[in-house]
């Protein structure tokens, strides 16, 4: 009797752990039945491309959330990186533009971490408001830099083959952005699970005082998480504007909440200290599949917004129950 109960309990906890996978499978089956177009090749490629920008931003956000903080500034970072990078293709050539764009992401992340460290912010709430302010600042800089205008690929006469490849090229069956994602995922996964710094970030998120007392430099962890997040936001920005071939100074709006949603749905706890980039991949997959499903089912984009909010609340509530 006792044994049976414990087996049930283990089954229940496993179900909760892999709830996302179950939900993904469920979504795929339901949608494939209702709308056979779902499993067509063109729709799968479409899903892979939709996956691109959000997964990059979410991977970066995972580290911030594991470290016990939050970063609302990714929307502003994406805006700024996108307009700066696209404007530099013409005068500097594509590779310098690409590198400057990525460097700009790192600068934004570093700036966030400096503000957080110097103010001594230790809670998620404090980080939330500081990075919200920084998001406003970056967005305003993007507006000032671009004079509020949108830039298109067809305005650029110089070669832009690299960006066109990122946006629409294929390597074998996979799209280029998907390959970039696989490479970055491998690097980040190794960083997170096999290096001392990656472990330190986890411990910082678990309990900052305990981490400091056991000799971990939490300031170093804080700089690392924000730099990674800024860099990944920059990668996301480049993938995003390459795909849609335009860069508006408001291109990144909404990415911060979508990324937080994907990370939390994936099962990384908002309390910090626990989680993994692999979980985030599942979370993003669920979010992208869901919006693809809702699209195919003809749900308006406004209602999808509302559904996202509801799922975010539900995921946090569920996570909270699990911890308790």
């Amino acid at each position: 009797m006792e044994e049976k109960k414990s087996v049930l309990k283990a089954g229940a906890s496993m179900l909760r752990d892999y709830l996302v996978l179950v939900m993904i499978a469920f979504l795929v089956v339901i949608t494939a039945i209702i709308e056979p177009k779902f499993l067509s090749g063109s729709n799968l490629v479409n899903i892979m491309r939709q996956f691109g920008p959000l997964i990059m931003v979410s991977l970066g956000m995972t580290f911030v959330i594991i470290g016990g903080f939050i970063d609302l500034s990714v929307a502003g970072t994406i805006n700024l990186v996108a307009v700066v990078t696209i404007s530099l293709i013409q005068p500097l050539g594509q590779l310098p533009a690409l590198l400057i764009g990525l460097a700009l992401g790192i600068v934004c992340g570093t700036l966030n971490s400096i503000l957080i460290l110097s103010s001594g912010a230790l809670t998620q709430a404090e980080a939330l408001f500081i990075t919200f302010g920084m998001s406003t600042v970056y967005s305003a800089l993007a507006l000032l830099y671009s004079h509020g205008s949108t830039m298109h690929f067809w305005d650029i006469s110089a070669s832009k083959s690299v960006f066109e490849a990122i946006g629409g090229g294929n390597i074998g069956f996979f799209s280029v952005s998907f390959v970039i994602f696989l490479v970055l995922l491998a690097i980040l996964w190794i960083f997170q699970s096999k290096t001392a710094d990656g472990r330190a970030i986890c411990l910082t998120g678990g309990n900052k005082t305990a981490a400091r007392l056991s000799g971990i430099q939490i300031s170093r962890s804080i700089v690392e998480i924000y730099v990674i997040c800024g860099f990944m936001a920059a990668v996301g920005a480049i993938v995003l504007f390459s795909r849609i071939t335009t860069a508006a100074p408001v291109i990144g709006a909404g990415y911060e909440t979508s990324a937080i949603l994907a990370v939390v749905v994936g099962g990384t706890t908002l309390k910090g200290g626990k989680g993994s980039v692999l979980r985030t991949v599942m979370g993003v997959l669920l979010v992208v599949l869901m919006s693809n499903c809702l699209d195919l089912l003809g749900v308006s984009s406004y209602m999808q917004y509302a559904v996202k909010g509801a799922i975010l609340m539900f995921a946090i509530w569920l996570d909270n129950r699990k911890q308790a």
Binding site: I70, L115, S118, S119, G120, A121, L122, T123, Q124, A125, E126, L128, F129, I130, F132, G133, M134, S135, T136, V137, S139, A140, L141, L143, L144, G148, T257, I260, L261, V264, L270, K271, S300, Y302, M303, Q304, Y305, A306, V307, K308, G309, A310, L312, M313, I316, W317, N320, R321, A324
Partner: protein
Amino acid sequence: MSKSGILTSIYKALTKQKAFIALLVMMIGMLFSKTNFYSAYNLLDMLNSTSILLILAFGVTFTIISGGCDLSIGGNLVVAGILAIKLLDVMPIWLAILIAVLFGAVVGFVNGFLVVQQKTEPFIITLGMGLLLTGVAQQLTDAHPLPAKNPNFMMISNGDFHGIPNLVIIMLVCFGISYWIMRYTQFGRNLYAIGGDYEVARYSGIDVIRTKWMGFVLSGVAAALAGVLLSSKLNTGSPVYGETTALVVNCGVVVGGTSFAGGIGGIPQSGLGLLVFGMLDNVMNMLGITSYYQVLLKGAVIVAIIWMDCFANKRKREAV
């Protein structure tokens, strides 16, 4: 008192009264500008255009004092405003407003259930609620502004009483009521106790869950009321005003000296904090600063002030 002692006390006063000092700096600065800043018309106009934000801030203060936070007020504001305008077609004004405000109370109730009863972190969960409500608002209006058909509705916010705009009068009434609740009722005192130390409040016999929950309901009611007033002021229901309002109002409350740590602050402080943003807008418009620079400056002010709040918290932690 030693020299460093005096310096510390000056520093303390500066950080405590940062909203007041910011207002003073702007007022002194405007003495040297050749604008009509110091006209009764402009000052009243400034108060009028800040009134809606002030009403939001009074509501949010109830949640922040007790150690919570409400980022759903932006979504709540737009949905309540649109709801009021839609209901106007089928029922008298007072009933439409009443239903919109009741809707706000329900949103606050759900927030309270999730945050207080289920003990989730208030920040992201109310952000999610805001997202949900913004989506609902866009669906209700198809993302277009929705004009009101009843001309009397417009007069609520745009009318005036002997030269004083109605909005300012309503704001002052809200101020009076919330100040009284916070300061002179057992409920208000209990909110302070809960924010100060949740466990101590619980052990001293306060019904912590019910009290904190009620704070969220009040915040929802204030947000819905603000939404109705905004719709009346613009004579349209529009889904776009909710996006950053919630974060700005919560920041404004902190600017006034109410801390996210809970237990410190009050209604007058929140009012001062929001006035900083109201006056900043007014001053920037007066000086003819273009809109992109306005956004930049506002962001920088938010970062600077939240930074100071965090820094003060850090010093407090280290002093213990």
